[in-house]
Symmetry: C2
Subunit: 389 residues, 2 copies
């Protein structure tokens, strides 16, 4: 299903030989129209990979006719040569697609996304022929193969679909983290056959990522390559209400975000941090992130230790409104901390399952937010200390 669940799209995933492993490493997604509206959000990291710099410009025009994605190299911190390579990649996609459908594609409407190691130039002698191969395999059933071709350390490929009345939003994701992902990238391509223009797509996508991917924080490390694109073909000829459409986009993003956390490198726990009774939503998010990034807590949860003191330590480092003597914390629904002090018996907390739920009650208002993270494990250390050497 993936990016071809919605009508008006073809896709392919092939092995270009960019990865030494010989596994699939190049994906192509083509919008066959009639519409080619698009929106995108990108990493907030100021050190941006060449394909991010390129695709940010493409999205400004509000139109994307195709997306080419490679794994096996991030093309980040590669200087002018890296940007030239991205440009050449877009040129090649337009050239190849125009052979089948003359004058239908312009390089300036081809988005490029890359994932893999930073600081290494892409093997263009393999990537460019790979584009020809991918174009030859484009199919309205190619979504799964495209999702597989963008994997790096992902153990599974990730796809999601939500359908409305006569229209569909589908998508694929790769990554083992978030807009702060495990290794050098989260990439997401969403497609819809709804007949929606670029401003409406942009509005729906920004609202969706703000409460989904932006609140998935596996290890606090923000990538140079994160890219989330939403493409509309209009093939269904249905224009849903904006609220309904935005909710479908949010649901697909939420589903993919949970899949990213569930596949985070080396993790043994998926941790849901809900901050409640905050004075503002920003406070709730700040507290949730601080808890999510506390290495000591993440180690404790790995050890199935309901160490609420480390939750309070993390809350205490924020600027959120709260009174330390009114804080309450529950772990898996047992209120182990009440009024900033010892609460219910910590031995009542059952930590055997993969999902851990932390509730932090700031007793300062009515706002709330949910942040997802993972535990910190020896496997995470092993995976990330052996990656490039």
């Amino acid at each position: 299903m993936s990016v071809t669940a919605a009508g008006g799209f073809t896709a392919a995933g092939i092995t270009a030989g960019i990865k030494d492993s010989g596994t699939p490493d190049l994906a192509l997604v083509v919008n066959t129209g009639p519409r080619r509206a698009a929106a995108g959000v990108f990493t907030a990291n100021r050190v941006k990979a060449a394909p991010v710099l390129w695709s940010e410009q493409v999205v400004k025009g509000g139109r994307i006719s195709a997306v080419v994605l490679n794994s096996g190299g991030a093309n980040a911190c590669t200087g002018p040569k890296g940007f030239q390579d991205t440009h050449a990649t877009a040129e090649k996609v337009a050239e190849v697609l125009n052979q089948a459908d003359p004058d239908s594609h312009s390089p300036g409407e081809i988005a490029v996304a890359s994932t893999g190691l930073i600081g290494i130039n892409l093997p263009m002698d393999k990537l460019l022929p790979g584009i020809e191969k991918a174009a030859a395999e484009l199919s309205a059933h190619g979504g799964e193969k495209a999702a597989i071709a963008i994997k790096t350390t992902d153990s599974v490929h990730k796809t999601a679909v939500v359908s409305g009345d006569g229209w569909t939003v589908g998508g694929m994701a790769k990554g083992a983290g978030m807009l702060a992902p495990g290794l050098a990238t989260m990439l997401v391509v969403l497609t819809t056959d709804a007949d929606v223009d670029s401003p409406a797509l942009d509005s729906a996508l920004r609202a969706a990522t703000r409460t989904t991917f932006d609140r998935v924080d596996s290890d606090g490390c923000m990538s140079t390559n994160d890219t989330v694109l939403l493409l509309a073909s209009g093939a269904s000829q249905v224009t849903p209400g904006q609220a309904e459409f935005a909710e479908a986009v949010r649901a697909v993003c939420d589903d993919l975000g949970r899949q990213l956390i569930g596949d985070a490198e080396g993790a043994s726990k998926d941790i849901r941090i809900e901050v409640i009774n905050a004075a503002t939503e920003d406070d709730a998010v700040e507290v949730g992130r601080s808890v999510a990034r506390n290495n000591l807590l993440k180690c404790a949860l790995h050890g199935e230790d309901p160490n609420w003191g480390r939750v309070l330590s993390a809350i205490g480092t924020t600027s959120a409104a709260f009174d330390p003597d009114r804080l309450n914390v529950a772990i898996n629904d047992v209120w182990v901390c009440r009024n900033g002090s010892v609460g219910d018996d910590r031995d009542l907390v059952d930590m055997r399952f993969r999902e851990v739920r932390i509730t932090a009650d700031l007793a300062a208002g009515t706002e709330s937010a949910v942040i997802w993270t993972n535990d910190l494990t020896a496997d995470y250390v092993h995976e990330n200390s052996a990656y490039s050497s």
Copy 2:
């Protein structure tokens, strides 16, 4: 030497039975005068342990006659009972010391510091008799025993001494981290026989901690209990110049700070991050901290992988002034990144030794800062996932 290197101080370290392990767990440091000037800095965490709340008030008076420190329990997040326990501890110290030296000690001039697990009440039935035992063992040679008694997961006790012309600054520290320590606390007590008043002590101590302990960031986790005290007895009858005195305090703090990093839990590398050519010192510190807290980089360095891309990713998340295309990064003096792109051959970087030096050149000004951190290891995970369970 430790806190009794300077004249005018006695100290003791004994086993009160607070720790199940039966190792020393209670230290007492007494200023025998003639002066009792003092200054202190404390954790910036808004969730503060009872002894921090107490000692902050004591220091406001500018006088400390004695410091009592316990390991085996942080007395943090323990509510009103925790504060009562701290108060009772100070009362007991004053009472016991006044038996030998009537009317010489007031509870309001007794500082209290605690370290260990959060969220557990101290065993006062062991702690209070321990104070009597410690007072009986006070000695002008008790500094080492005091330093040993405040250890928690420390593998060694930490002391440092710097002498001027007729005066001395000495001290002890415990912790496996920083003003963001490994487990629930960094505690430091510094003593001097210099004849210096409280405002001068405060000025010297704040200047010293700002560039030493505040720039030691083992794992980014800020404790609820961090306490650094500086006590002056005036016993040397020498008043050094303020610059000379401040430099001695800085040197002792720097020495102890390096010992904290060198003993950080589970670490196999001590990592020195120097940010140069920053527009402001704040920029340099922000960038240094961001690099120091990047889990992916810390894993890579553990694996002896000179992964400069992760350094750039970390720099990119800051608000510091820089142009991504002008960033340079050296690892162990090899400039592996030049102008934001691939620099010298990474295979030239020798990573075999415990110390790793990262230099980040922002090419944006003339300011600099040094931050120390550690690598992230499976041992760190094991130690911190098994601690309280």
